[in-house]
């Protein structure tokens, strides 16, 4: 079960995949005969990464359908399997299907498999709709999906909204289970740091699930030395900044879903779209993913030249044997590289074009001076202009939120005027969105008296009233580098992921915590954070000169778990941190987000 630690730098998470496939096969083989399968649309891509259609076909699945709302499904086989997340709306669709069949006196066998677990509410819903007796219910655990060598994701895009806005703790269970899953692969993680309230809850839940009956863990076998669990609400600034690394830009411009990216005809240059899997197996991508965008095209054109040279080798081949060798070994790889290279170049062009069209320069400039805290008045005017021009809603809202976060709240006058104008531009319904952002603390009005205006009784209780103070954290953690020239080509400062304007707060915090092995000595930083912090340190790092050289050695592998999602820029920043400090980071997250997806998840879509 344990991974072959010596050969690979990271614990082998492929086991998670195998385990899921086994479970799925077991479940499907239990249902004898041919069957149709309906898959929740949110599970399509994850399933693609974890199992693939072939596995389903080999286990008696005839047709595969996507489960979408308002779907009519009266045809098909007599046996039907529903593979779904335990969400109310997908359960609702299933009940519609079953009841439609019932109305036509059509008898069928239904099997619902909930991923990753069945929930009381879903079963209640089935009971309420009168079909609990007609279906068999089971569950398959699917937790972390290995998206890449160092990225694991739960792929729960609704997680942020449910936990942080609705304060619904249902999905913490899944996070906790996934941590236990990782520990069962790589042994108990000795050092755990929790940044934020939910992080602590998760860790408590992990301990509670393991129970006290377990024997004392043997830390000498631990493959992962530290676990940092961090709440998204500790750092909203980073995801709202425009990404400028290649991978981040790809996500911002095209949207990367579960590691897949889809390029339209404008990139492929052909009529059809192309789907590309972005992992470290794609050599070209691996080379450029962490680069600042300014440094990508140069590499790509160089690569194009060298590829051409490799291709040209075929003219110099002397013997038939050489030729055979070339065709069988190199040609295929070269061809693949060539197609990928064409896509990447096409994507770069598209990004450049889009950004030029949208006045990206000015937008970025404003963003950077918000982060820096300079020329406030002009920047507010810029936001106002965007609002007046009916510039697309999400980018405008992103900048507005960023203004609020970096100023620790927008001054009352500006807030009122901007909000009113925003509602005029984008519809009064957006008042609900403002209400949501306000609750989250992403977009708030400064109080003149400097005190929290809302009485405690009125707030949804349990909400921590303390908001993180960007200005103070910025100073303490040196988030905005003082020197102007950050080398974007050969980065020496984490801030390169944002063109040298800002280092991600979340990553800086992680750096500090790992450095100090806990939070002692960081009080003047943690007091400005939104949530509480907690640490459990079992093994000290012996490579440090001061500590005694007894006891188990601390692994340099660090798992970072983002509750509520992380951005590609943060992943890049952590990779950079790992490179200069000698850590091996494994980034786990509930989903991969960017500014747009984050805001979209809290925008009220009434129409």
């Amino acid at each position: 079960m344990a991974a072959s630690m010596t050969s690979s730098p990271h614990p082998d998470f492929q086991y998670l995949k195998q385990k899921f496939c086994q479970d799925l096969e077991q479940h499907l083989s239990k249902i004898k005969g041919k069957k149709d399968i309906f898959i929740d649309h949110e599970l399509m891509k994850p399933l693609d990464r974890m199992a693939g259609a072939a596995l389903l076909k080999n286990n008696g699945v005839d047709k595969i359908f996507k489960l979408v709302s308002n779907q009519m499904a009266t045809d098909g086989l007599e046996q039907r399997v529903y593979l779904t997340r335990p969400r109310m709306d997908s359960v609702k669709v299933i009940t519609e299907h079953v009841n439609a069949d019932k109305g036509q006196n059509h008898k069928r066998k239904y099997h619902i498999i909930f991923v990753p677990r069945r929930l009381h509410l879903c079963e209640m819903m089935l009971e309420y709709e009168g079909i609990h007796g007609d279906v068999t219910i089971s569950e398959i655990e699917m937790h972390l999906i290995p998206l890449d060598r160092d990225i694991l994701s739960l792929e729960l895009p609704f997680f942020f909204r449910t936990l942080f806005l609705d304060q619904d703790e249902t999905w913490l269970h899944t996070v906790a289970r996934s941590i236990i899953g990782v520990q069962s692969l790589a042994n108990t993680i000795p050092n755990v740091y929790c940044i934020g309230r939910r992080a602590r809850m998760t860790f408590d839940l992990v301990n509670m699930m393991l129970g006290d009956a377990r024997p004392d863990p043997d830390y000498t076998k631990s493959e992962i030395g530290s676990l940092v669990i961090i709440d998204r609400d500790v750092d909203y600034v980073t995801p709202l900044c425009s990404q400028v690394t290649y991978e981040g830009l790809l996500d911002d411009s095209f949207g990367i879903k579960c590691g897949f990216i889809e390029f339209g005809p404008e990139v492929t240059g052909k009529d059809q779209t192309a789907k590309l899997l972005l992992t470290s197996d794609d050599q070209i991508f691996e080379e450029v993913r962490n680069r600042h965008f300014s440094n990508v095209l140069g590499y790509l054109s160089e690569k194009a030249k060298s590829l051409q040279q490799d291709f040209d080798k075929r003219h110099t081949l002397q013997s038939v044997g050489d030729m055979k060798n070339f065709v069988s070994k190199e040609l295929r790889g070269l061809k693949q590289q060539k197609t990928n290279l064409a896509y990447h170049i096409g994507a770069c062009e598209q990004i450049l074009m889009k950004k030029n069209k949208d006045d990206f320069e000015e937008y970025l400039q404003t963003e950077h001076s918000f982060l820096e805290g300079s020329s406030l008045r002009e920047n507010i005017t810029f936001v106002e202009e965007l609002v007046q021009k009916q510039h697309s809603m999400i980018p405008t809202l992103k900048l507005f939120s960023l203004l609020s976060l970096t100023q620790d709240g927008v001054s009352s006058r500006d807030y009122k005027s901007l909000k009113t104008q925003f509602l005029h531009s984008h519809g009064f319904e957006q008042m609900l969105t403002f209400n949501n952002l306000n609750k989250l603390g992403m977009l708030t009005e400064q109080d003149q008296s400097g005190q929290i205006s809302t009485p405690i009784g009125k707030m949804p209780s349990g909400v921590n009233l303390r908001r993180s103070s960007y200005r103070n954290l910025c100073k303490k953690l040196n988030l905005v580098p003082k020197t102007e020239d950050i080398d974007l080509k050969r980065p020496t400062n984490m801030a390169y992921v944002f063109s040298g304007a800002y280092s991600p707060l979340s990553c800086k915090l992680i750096e500090q915590v790992l450095n100090k092995e806990g939070f002692s000595g960081l009080e003047d930083i943690t007091k400005y954070l939104t949530g509480d912090v907690y640490s459990r340190v079992e093994v000290r790092d012996h490579s440090r000169p001061k500590s005694a050289a007894a006891g188990p050695k601390l692994s340099k592998t660090v798992m970072v778990y983002f509750l509520g999602g992380c951005t590609y820029s943060e992943i890049t920043a952590l990779r950079f941190l790992g490179r200069i400090k000698g850590y091996r980071f494994i980034i786990s997250t509930t989903s991969i987000i960017n500014g747009s997806t984050l805001l979209n998840s809290v925008v009220e879509k009434s129409r």
Binding site: P116, L121, D168, E169, L172, D204, A213
Partner: protein, 519 residues
């Protein structure tokens, strides 16, 4: 007898050992989602054991699960948890010894398992731990859906709820909350709910998901969460499709929730504006069959359908005007209605009534917006309709002494941007670009809009030859702009440098160094 106690614990531990690893079993073979609640009372509590001693802890445990115990020396069986006074007492002294345990009907992992008396009075000699385990294993296989019905006393229910909250499992929390809701009267439920924020959150979410808004409103009202209640009502109002009902729903919502809430003053304004914009949009876009406005049968949707007006034929509407934001509405009015009046006044016959009412409508809308936004909209609509005179009119103000003067509150740089976005031709752009005061800004905008002639002119005015040369190099050689730039370079050279330059060098594609040399 004493010696048998460890055996009991062995038994207990064997249950627990089976419990804990369950979490690692593949999903589907067990029910770990609800098992949580099960697991709660089943879980051993070492702190308790160390505090009150193994026997008392064991007694607590078995009583929690619905069993009974008899202590050594006692004659009475204790069946109620609350009747363990010494155990509950914090200054309890250890020393109690368990004599017998009755496990019948306990929820040791088979909570609510029918009424079968599964484990008869557990005389210790009756079964060895191994046999017990097997029995439990079998029972688990038979296990019926988990339910909480066996918890009857309020204390039990509440401690269940507290445990569910303490472990942060939303699934368990909502299950217990709903169980509580079902089994106790409203006043108790509300009281207990109010004490537990996590329970409230989950309950509110549940109601939201089930769209049980009436109950949700009650809960929010009870908790004094007026803001949330207002937003909830507003949310319900805005999703209504029919305009008439929507307006009245918004009005009700405003009166009930926004009007009297001091913290919502601004939002209250917005709701009022929302109502008024809908009221203005409605007559513009009246759907046939809306009886109240049947007389307005020249409303736009009808006009469009019948194809009566050339305007709608030439520029078909993208969407209905209803529910559009304020700015879009005004743009619409500027585009279709003002435009019509100015252009085709004679072709298009307005009835006096509707024309007046329309005008009033969009004038009302205008008041909501700042002068800047109004101007942008007007320019945008006129430009789209290619009414350049109209644009000029908008940007002309009467001077103090009767003359006219070009003026724009938004600044001419933004005028140009708006014009460019709406596809204005080069000569129009040039005209307004030249009105930008700051030459730096003019240069910047002109470059962005690719108005090469303005760029060149501005550079000339700035006496920045190097820049023209640099710029000219980027232009296609065959284009008239290139010639224009060359011309400018030539004249600038002759004007400012007065150096000996042969025409020969000028015709050549320039190299920067050469030019510098010339200078």
């Amino acid at each position: 007898m004493r010696r048998l106690i460890p055996k009991l614990f062995h038994y207990k531990n064997s249950v627990l050992r089976r419990t804990t690893p369950l979490l690692f079993q593949p999903a589907g073979t067990c029910r770990h989602l609800m098992k949580y609640l099960n697991f709660i009372p089943n879980a051993p509590d070492p702190s308790r054991t160390s505090k009150v001693g193994p026997d008392a802890a064991c007694a607590e445990w078995i009583l929690k699960l619905g069993g009974a115990v008899r202590f050594e020396g006692d004659k009475e069986w204790i069946r109620n948890y609350n009747f363990l006074p010494s155990v509950m007492n914090p200054d309890y002294k250890p020393g109690l010894v368990l004599d017998e345990i009755d496990g019948s009907g306990t929820s040791v992992m088979w909570v609510g398992f029918l009424n079968l008396s599964i484990v008869p009075t557990m005389k210790r000699e009756d079964k060895t731990p191994r046999e017990m385990t097997e029995e439990i294993e079998m029972l688990r296989r038979l296990l019926l859906p988990f339910n909480l019905e066996c918890y009857k006393s309020l204390d039990e229910k509440l401690s269940l709820l507290n445990r569910a909250i303490a472990v942060h499992d939303g699934n368990a929390i909502i299950a217990t909350v709903l169980f509580l809701k079902r089994t106790v009267k409203a006043s108790i439920f509300n009281l207990e709910l109010q004490k537990r924020p996590a329970a409230i959150n989950h309950y509110v979410n549940f109601l939201n998901m089930r769209q049980n808004y009436a109950e949700l409103e009650n809960v929010l009202g009870m908790l004094n969460r007026h803001e949330d209640a207002a937003m909830l009502k507003y949310k319900q109002a805005v999703v209504i499709n029919d305009v008439g009902s929507k307006i009245s729903a918004l009005k009700t919502c405003y009166r009930a929730h926004f009007q009297s809430e001091p913290s919502l003053v601004n939002d209250a304004h917005m709701v009022q504006e929302h109502i008024s914009i809908l009221e203005r949009q409605r007559p513009i876009e009246v759907v046939f069959g809306d009886s109240e406005f049947r007389s307005f049968n020249d409303a736009d949707s009808a006009a469009e359908r019948e194809g009566r007006t050339p305007m709608f034929k030439q520029h078909p509407r993208a969407a209905s005007i209803l529910n559009m934001p304020v700015i879009t509405t005004l743009y619409y009015c500027c585009y279709y209605h003002t435009g019509l009046q100015e252009l085709n006044e004679k072709q298009f016959v307005w009835t006096a009534l509707s024309a007046r009412s329309r005008l009033k409508q969009w004038n009302g809308v205008e008041e909501l917006l700042t002068a800047k936004v109004r101007l942008i909209l007007k320019i945008r609509s006129r430009s789209r309709l290619k009414q350049w005179n109209g644009v000029e009119e908008l940007l002309t103000a009467k001077g103090w002494f009767g003359g006219t003067k070009s003026r724009a509150v938004i600044g001419f740089d933004r005028v140009c941007e708006v014009l460019n976005k709406t596809g204005a031709p080069r000569d129009v752009l040039t005209k307004y670009l030249n009105l930008i005061d700051s030459s730096d800004r003019r240069l910047q905008v002109a470059k962005k809009l690719k108005c090469h002639n303005v760029v060149v002119d501005t550079c000339v005015a700035l006496k920045d030859r190097a820049q023209i040369i640099d710029y000219a190099r980027k232009l296609p050689i065959t284009s008239p702009d290139y010639a224009y730039a060359q011309n400018a370079i030539k004249s600038s050279v002759s004007d400012f440098c007065k150096l000996h330059l042969t025409t020969h060098t000028l015709k050549m594609p320039y190299k920067e160094s050469e030019i510098y040399y010339c200078i």
